[in-house]
Symmetry: C2
Subunit: 432 residues, 2 copies
């Protein structure tokens, strides 16, 4: 049998890059079988060439300047695994595409920011730009949308897209432990960034993934809209417990949907009924629910992060390229992907869970409920939990459905209320 020969360059040799390196070596024979192609890692680059790694390589394949890999005429495919949303990561990809090299990356922040520009560059140069690993880790969700459900009209995608947040919320419930303690454990276990976990926790990471999912699902440009984005930083054990009592569970969801022809993308913690599918995705797992016509509802679930699932996704990109499967990075040509008007979130109708910490003195309840009445928001449930020792109380309120804009005013008015000890915590109730 005659094999094609393909040379690979890998930029970035952290956990993911190292695992990928070993995976390519280990699966060489398998790749030959499935694609009649012999792959060869011809170049690698990382910050530090002398760092101890769990694999051996010939010194001559190590490049100090990663851009030289993007320009090397012997290289056919470049893996970008550094992960910045701009800077050197963008430069590496840009240069590689311009030099007619296929690019594979796991970089969601960069694809969410520059995906349109880079996809155009890939299309012009007739090479692939693949980023399966950017969303959902081991779940082949992008390929499923592009290939498996290719002609479906998708109208809504809901996902648990950040394993760190899901792990923290799950652990708070099962271990009955505080946010900060669980976060510390997540950091020890490598699920959360040790120094600055904020991009995971505040919803930013999920939003980047939502933007990529939207572009693929609705055949449109990657949106730059300002979106509803709340993280899990303010969720306390008390909310977890209260949700449980009310037969809910708290999940950080990324949601994108088309409402009246407009695009509504958002990321925020949600109260979801305990017996729903999404409520039962626990730990570091990711899950995506798609609604399409004619397929109906499709659900995909799998490990969301870590070297194993991520390298599985990177390898699927590699094999797709080796099979000669040259495709538009977002499934549809750049100039056919429309811009869609954003849906104004202030018209979003939902119920809200609020936890309001107040001083435990007479007149509080009437003062608080008056604020609700003034904003024409009617209360469905109200639970008062006094904490006599600390002379405070928690007021938990579930509202009847109302508009986002009215809640905004409500929260503003509440925060001015003199009985409040701190800003209220609010979580949207989501029917999924």
């Amino acid at each position: 049998m005659k094999y094609k020969k393909i040379n690979i360059g890998i930029v970035g040799l952290g956990q993911i890059g190292s695992r990928l390196y070993r995976e390519i070596i280990f699966k060489k024979r398998d790749i030959e079988l499935k694609t009649s192609t012999r792959v060869n890692i011809l170049a690698i680059s990382a910050k530090n060439s002398n760092k101890k790694r769990d694999f051996n390589f010939k010194r001559k394949i190590f490049y100090k300047n990663p851009l030289h890999i993007s320009k090397d005429p012997n290289i056919d495919i470049v893996f970008e695994l550094i992960g910045y949303s701009d800077g050197i990561s963008k430069k590496i990809i840009e240069t590689a595409l311009k030099n007619k090299k296929h690019v594979i990356t796991a970089n969601k922040a960069l694809i969410a920011k520059h995906g349109d520009y880079l996809s155009l560059l890939a299309e012009k140069n007739k090479v692939n730009l693949e980023f399966e690993a950017a969303v959902g880790g081991g779940i082949p969700i992008l390929r499923t949308i592009k290939d498996g459900l290719s002609t479906n009209k998708i109208n809504k995608v809901v996902g648990i897209l950040n394993g760190t947040c899901n792990y923290i919320l799950s652990q708070m419930e099962t271990q009955n432990n505080s946010f900060s303690n669980v976060l510390k454990r997540a950091q020890r276990l490598g699920y959360a960034e040790p120094r600055d976990p904020i991009l995971d926790l505040n919803g930013y990471d999920t939003l980047a993934k939502v933007r990529i999912l939207s572009a693929l699902s609705f055949n449109k440009k990657v949106s730059k809209n300002i979106c509803l984005m709340n993280g899990i930083e303010n969720i306390e054990l008390e909310d977890i417990e209260m949700a449980k009592k009310l037969n809910f569970r708290i999940k950080l969801l990324g949601i994108t949907e088309i409402i009246d022809g407009m695009l509504f993308e958002r990321v925020h913690p949600c109260l979801v009924k305990k017996d729903t599918y999404i409520a039962n995705i626990n730990g570091v797992m990711n899950a995506v629910i798609l609604n399409g016509d004619p397929v109906g509802e499709s659900v995909l679930q799998g490990e969301g992060a870590g070297p194993g699932p991520t390298s599985s996704a990177l390898m699927s990109d590699l094999l797709s390229i080796l099979r000669g499967n040259i495709k538009y990075p977002f499934g549809t040509p750049f100039n056919k992907r429309k811009k869609i008007k954003p849906y104004d979130s202030k018209f979003y109708l939902n119920s809200l869970y609020l936890r309001i910490e107040v001083k435990d003195i007479p007149g509080v309840l009437s003062s608080i409920t008056k604020v609700f009445a003034k904003n024409k928001i009617s209360i469905k449930n109200l639970i008062q939990k006094p904490d006599k020792k600390n002379k405070k109380a928690s007021i938990i309120i579930i509202t009847h459905e109302n508009y986002e804009k009215n809640y905004k005013n409500l929260l503003l008015n509440l925060s001015k209320n003199k009985f409040l000890i701190k800003k209220p915590t609010f979580i949207r109730i989501e029917k999924v």
Copy 2:
């Protein structure tokens, strides 16, 4: 923009074929966008040309003899949607492949039986043979194994692969209704064959799908092994209720795995813990759980049957071909796919649930338990439910783990027991 032109022939215009016909017309523009190809339905064929259909077509595209479509030099892609495991279905596909036409089919029985031969034929003629719709309906499970998880080493696949059975079992539980009543309803709703539903109910349909999944997951030939295969025909409402009390749910599972380098394929009803993922797939839904390395556990869930999901899968096959994605039908070339020795099911270790209907007279229990002791099968739980009015009793037994071969002897010995009113019902307890 310059478009390629591709001509399509559709053989079989039942529910699926008709929906596909309309879907292709309706999505023409979308297909052009995504593949730069203009598709044209140039030929159709069905048993009856005069039947009233929900779409219009020019008489001249109707072929009396479907084999003429397979031979027509103007046709590029043939859809086989008749569904026989042999005969005309096989002939249509064979002829089309030999004439260098791509073939798309939803025919699991045929692929399970002749998949190896036909894939070789496709490979030789450098055309595609695609059958995504054969397994899991709207779940793009074959594409996920072939592409999304392409270099993973998969070691186990567990699935709910027959929507009819799952619907019946779910409805028996939720509606508290008998097997035969629920079956009748399933037939009225079009979920079960009106005349002969046995191929759905006895596990045969699921086994065909399991064989296809094995071939793809383990890069091997389609097995012809005799497998453990039991259907749901003997499950009664009493089993459903008893399972519920014992914190289980009954599901018909298709399972394939590699044990000590040998292939173990089986289909049978299983008692699965109520809080597991698979236990909570209800109604006509299908679900597949894959275990792979490095990806970990992946779960896919979606509608398993019906014109919508099936045509979604057929369309994904079409687009894959239009993108020029010529691939080995089973992901790996024919001659590289090994035969794997079958695992001998008699060494399979599991616990069993048994319901034994006996005459309610003294000495029964000791006589029955003696049979267990003689076969060295120890009992974990025993529940006796007398039915005084009919002078009978049900004995429900959960065993400790034991070998399949010992259960075989047990069942043989039990059926000879003079107190038994009918053959015992047994369901394997499955840890998933």
